[in-house]
């Protein structure tokens, strides 16, 4: 079946079996390997992408269901070649990862949170990432990354007191 997908603002026409998950379509058909398979039954969250800015599990959607939404993958966040978005830089600042496997999904979940809530509490952050399992970090530095990103993004575009 043919389906037209809107991914990171670009249109992609793919031909897939109905049973091809959105996850596998992104990875195998479109070479967007930033999204990862962890369980293929909707628990670990490593497959998270954004659908109209809301985190969803791409392993629980078939590609043929995914037309008509604005899909955002991790590849859509970077500002430019070699340039990190503030949320990505914050994750580097706090070392909010180790093996990096859950990281794109975590960052997308964080990004979705900050789109709706520019001053999240620790509880808000924990709730927002509670559907994403990390086995490396114990979450502390991830929570700190998101809080740091929120703080920095609130401070952007404000007049600077000092040079």
């Amino acid at each position: 079946m043919r389906v037209d997908l809107d991914i990171n603002g670009e249109r992609h026409a793919v031909d897939v079996e109905p049973r091809t998950s959105l996850l596998d379509c992104l990875r195998d058909k479109l070479a967007m390997t930033g999204v990862h398979a962890g369980c293929e039954h909707g628990v670990c969250g490593a497959c998270t992408v954004l659908l109209d800015d809301a985190p969803v599990r791409s392993c629980l959607m078939f590609a043929v269901q995914a037309d008509g939404y604005a899909i955002t993958t991790i590849e859509g966040l970077a500002r430019g070649i070699g340039e990190l978005a503030p949320i990505q830089d914050a994750f580097c600042e706090t070392h909010g990862m180790q093996c990096g496997y859950c990281t794109p999904a975590m960052i997308l979940a964080a990004h979705a949170l900050l789109l709706k809530n520019s001053a999240p509490t620790r509880d808000d952050i924990v709730e927002a990432i509670s559907g994403n399992i990390c086995r490396c970090t114990g979450y502390a530095q991830i929570v700190e990354a998101i809080a740091l990103a929120a703080e920095r993004m609130r401070g952007l575009n404000r007049p600077q007191d000092k040079p």
């Binding site: 490593a46 991790i74 990190l84 580097c92 496997y101 952050i125 399992i133 086995r135 490396c136 114990g138």
Partner: protein, 800 residues
Amino acid sequence: MSAREFRYVSSDRRVREDRRFVVGKGRFAADIALQGMRHGALVTCPHPAARIVSIDKLDARSMPGVHCVVDGHEVAAATEPLPAGLDTPRVQRRPLAVDVARYSGEWVAAVVADTRAQAEDAAEMVRVEYEPLPYVLDGEAAYQAGSPPVHADHGSNVLLDRSFTWGDVEKDFAESPNRLAVRVKWGRSSTVPVETFSVVANWDPWREILDIYASVQMPKYPDQLSAVLKLPMTSVRVHYDVDVGGSYGVKRGIKHAALVGYLARRLGFPVRLVEDRLENMRGGDAHGPERLFDVEVAFDDDGVIRSMKMRALDNVGAYAGRSPFQLGKPIGAIVGPYRIRSVQYQAIAVTTNKTVQEAVRAFGQSPTNYAIERTIDAVAYHLILDRLEVRRRNLIRHDEFPYTIPSGTTYDSGDYHTVIEKVLARAPYDGLIEERNSLRKQGFLAGIGLAACLEPNGGNSSFEPLLNPKITTTTWMESCRVSIEATGAITASVNTTSSGQGHETLVGTAVGEVLEIDPDRIRVVRPDSLNAMPSNSPVGSRMAIMLGGAAFHAAQKLKNKLLAIGAHDLNIPLERAVYADGEVFEKESPQNRRSWQQLVNIAHRNYHLLPKGFEPGLSESHILQVPTGGQLPTADGRVQMYPCFSFEFHVLLAAIDPDLGKLAIRKYLVGHDCGTVINPKIVRGMTMGGIAHGIGAALYEEFAYNDEGQLIAQTFMDYLLPSAHEVPPVEIIHHATPSPHTVFGQKGSGESGYLGAPAAIASAVNDALSPLGIFVNQLPIKIAALGDMIAAAREARKSK
């Protein structure tokens, strides 16, 4: 040893690997797409034990996209058995079962098709006829003679039954006024990385090279693969620059790679196998220890323990891999941080019809620490003494280091009492007690958990000759090559895979520290197994010590060479030459100097200016043997295990809703001493991640089986991994007692947190339950079981 001043070591630098991960440009094994690559899927046995009567591949072969269907006989004919550690030649393990399947989930056939989905479609059509056989699931039952042997030719289920006596145990027991016995059970769990094991194999018949891209963390991987596949090791190229999505010990993948390597050679195109979660949980052979401890201690009326007897019985599953050695490594810290002077230890490994175990983070030390700490608490309860005080009385003192324990290992350094006092002051401990009492008044069962645990690090496989005298391995090495190119650019090598430990950052920091050059200017490269130097992988929390050490020494050789080149060119004796910030100058007249580029030019281009006899270029390497290693065990089983010992002291406050059995951690502090910290962000991450693993093992995670031998926890719906909700904020209090054995005084920290958290949580639960007079002696402590225990105890009290 006082704290040293470092330029880069211990400074709060970013971890350079993070940059590629935050943009989704990690290169994991499942990301590798080679031209013409096809996909594998497995056919698994549904029975815990069965004779394979027949395998009908006909229908499967004719399914769309299928290239082949293979069974155990075919693969066994072309390969050697998978390596095992113990001397158990009649316990043979193959990638696919041959004639007999020995656990539910064991792989019995494999399909290769154009897509993974097609391979799964065909796998369903493979018709296997089984004849179920008797099976055994319980470790103690398997230990009994007469239990159905998992391997008929081996005769019994006992893979290992070895006793050691160090010191005069019977005399110490006879002379002690008190003794008590404790039995605890460590449930079967594992580290379960989010990425399953994945491997791509490609055979180039023209160069005669088998390329392997795998999500692997395994010492001697190319060696073992080449032996199994009957290829010269120079025909196996393992790509170490594949990013590994978490391992924490378990990604050994030898059967996966052997299978896929065989298929690639037979089929003539690349083959990829990505375990799906079901294949991984049931048949990936990555389960962890399932261990029953019987501990008996002899102690005086002050709670000072003189002697300990420990029997550890581990249910390793249906085959022996490396996992029985997990009973041997803890020998190197068998008394924990305590001054127990004689020990008897019996290590028993049995086979059952369960999934195979693999090496899990800390290789058996965490279960052992749990048993030790439970015993210390038991002594305190028995004598009605404060649990902290009993620990203080038994802990090895700062001035007693280096301290040799009865089993022959010498602990390098430590200051356990200071770490403990620091944590108690920070809590503050009195405040915790007040809070606990207040929670109890509010109706909670509240408890404070304590655990003082060692983290042995540096690695050293001396448990191998200890448990298998046919093995005489005493070398456990790591390497680094550092080169300065003609343009002055610096590269340094990591000769193994990484799974998030920040090795590139580690090497850059170590080399930068020695050469006094910003680590970010140092490019870290990863050779493949054909051009790598020897490595034994990031196991045993060894890399800070070993890779850091090798990088240091290689850089030091370069620095010495630069110094000599500079002195020679300045025409001054070596003693008057100083190296600083990449330049060499004359001590009394610093205006006489040679710059970095000048020195590099001499080395690379001006042979006539080199000191006589010097090799041109600037490339030095170092292969480091594990410090304190290099000896075989003595006749009575004494040997130096690991070189360095980090220490952690956990204190936590837990509140249990007595009606629900639901536990919440209200406060958590851990004191952590891993000597000099090379990168604070990395070390913190390791400790927090280890605590999260420990919370999982203590409260949520279990590979539970039913009586029919089926793994009940096959998916993440039943095997419960801690989310951000389940891991509370933890405060880490640092102390640094440097190691005398390492270049910066660093110890390892790759297993920190995991080594003490389960013991600490169990301790908190028991403190909380103590007013009811009940104790929990097994992990995990699950909510409903705890609720039932509490209800029964309250019922019993009411009826009194």
